[in-house]
Symmetry: C2
Subunit: 204 residues, 2 copies
DNA sequence: ACCTGAACACCGTTCAAGT
DNA sequence: ACCTGAACACCGTTCAAGT
């Protein structure tokens, strides 16, 4: 607050003429970031829509390393937040996911998306070249002869850069394929003779 | 610090006779939590070992909601941290993962594990019965007629509890199956005639 | 060796006083 | 309507003084 005031050329106390408090500001910030994530709605297959959403979200979280933490520390009741959730679920429902299947798919995907950039050691420089420096530091921290497996990986990436985007899309592909498989499996099972499954209970 | 001192029946300043500072303490805490996660080494197939690790970690992060955030805000150079990474990689290497495949598998799995409990709305009470209260609050926050898809999910879980463990293991299964598939695909491709692939380059 | 009180440089926030 | 200075209740940390 004090720092923000300073940057605006204003005393911290004056901020309270414009916002209710720090929480208010952080909520607004979280919503702003959320609105940067793009969720295609028209003319897309669900898998493609989710892939594009995931990639867009990861980009945002890579640019603003604090963002993922901020968003899931706030609760999900702001308009922007609800609108976002609604858009994502809309895509899944339209693709035939049941209520619980959609909820699970959402949770699985977002766990991965939100967790990814947090896991990744902070890469100071560009995107593609990420990790090299971090790997070198880890390597330096490993005592001689200890932790050979960790050392092996650190040595690998101390040399060649780690392709962050490729790694993300590798995991994303796994998950999307898995969701599709379980969706098909779900409907196949339920479509057996004599079953008149409510669309609500197709999977899980 | 001041609060911690109070609980120990001591002034905050006295803490500095025992620890270097707050950062020191948080590092120790992160390592302590890490050591609670169990990574089976003997007589286990990699998939089983990773599944057990994941379930154990999720349990820890569910019990200590601050832990996942703490751990990935610290850097990975403490002994405990390195030992943990080393154990996990050892399992993967022994199962035939290449260096980069192991690194990717690790990153994908941990992104999911660390992201999961953060994503999940805080469930005040017990594990299995989680989410009901949260769902009701979300439902109450949705304006009439708006966000129909979000409302549909909220309505579902305002009634019946959300099975957190089942949801986690659903996603975990997807990812492990996907990793296995890509591992097999990897070795199949490289084992073609005339190829003498280094074990280091089997996948990705 | 360990504790204490006082102080320092910080926070976010409130509020009476100014314009 | 918006800003300011002063103050309040907090932080983590330092350090001379005590035992």
């Amino acid at each position: 607050m004090r720092e923000l005031g300073r940057r605006l050329g204003i005393k911290a106390a004056s901020l309270y003429n414009h916002i209710a408090g720090k929480d208010d500001l952080l909520d607004a910030l979280a919503n702003l970031v959320l609105s940067e994530i793009d969720v295609p709605l028209e003319n897309v297959e669900w898998k493609d829509a989710m892939r594009r959403r995931a990639i867009s979200a990861r980009g945002v979280f890579a640019r603003h390393r604090w963002a993922a933490g901020l968003i899931d520390s706030r609760d999900r009741r702001g308009r922007e937040s609800l609108a976002y959730v609604d858009r994502v679920l809309r895509v899944l429902f339209r693709a035939g996911f049941s209520t619980s299947a959609a909820a699970n798919a959402f949770l699985v995907l977002d766990s991965y998306i939100y967790g990814f950039e947090r896991q990744r050691p902070a890469a100071p420089a560009g995107e593609k070249a990420g990790g090299t420096e971090a790997a070198r530091e880890v390597l330096a921290a490993i005592p001689d002869g200890e932790f050979p497996f960790a050392a092996r990986v650190a040595r690998e990436y101390a040399g060649k850069p780690f392709d962050v985007e490729a790694a993300f899309e590798f995991g994303l592909g796994l998950i999307l394929d898995g969701l599709e498989r379980s969706r098909e499996r779900g409907s196949r099972i339920r479509r057996g003779p004599g079953t008149d499954a409510a669309p609500d209970a197709r999977i899980l």
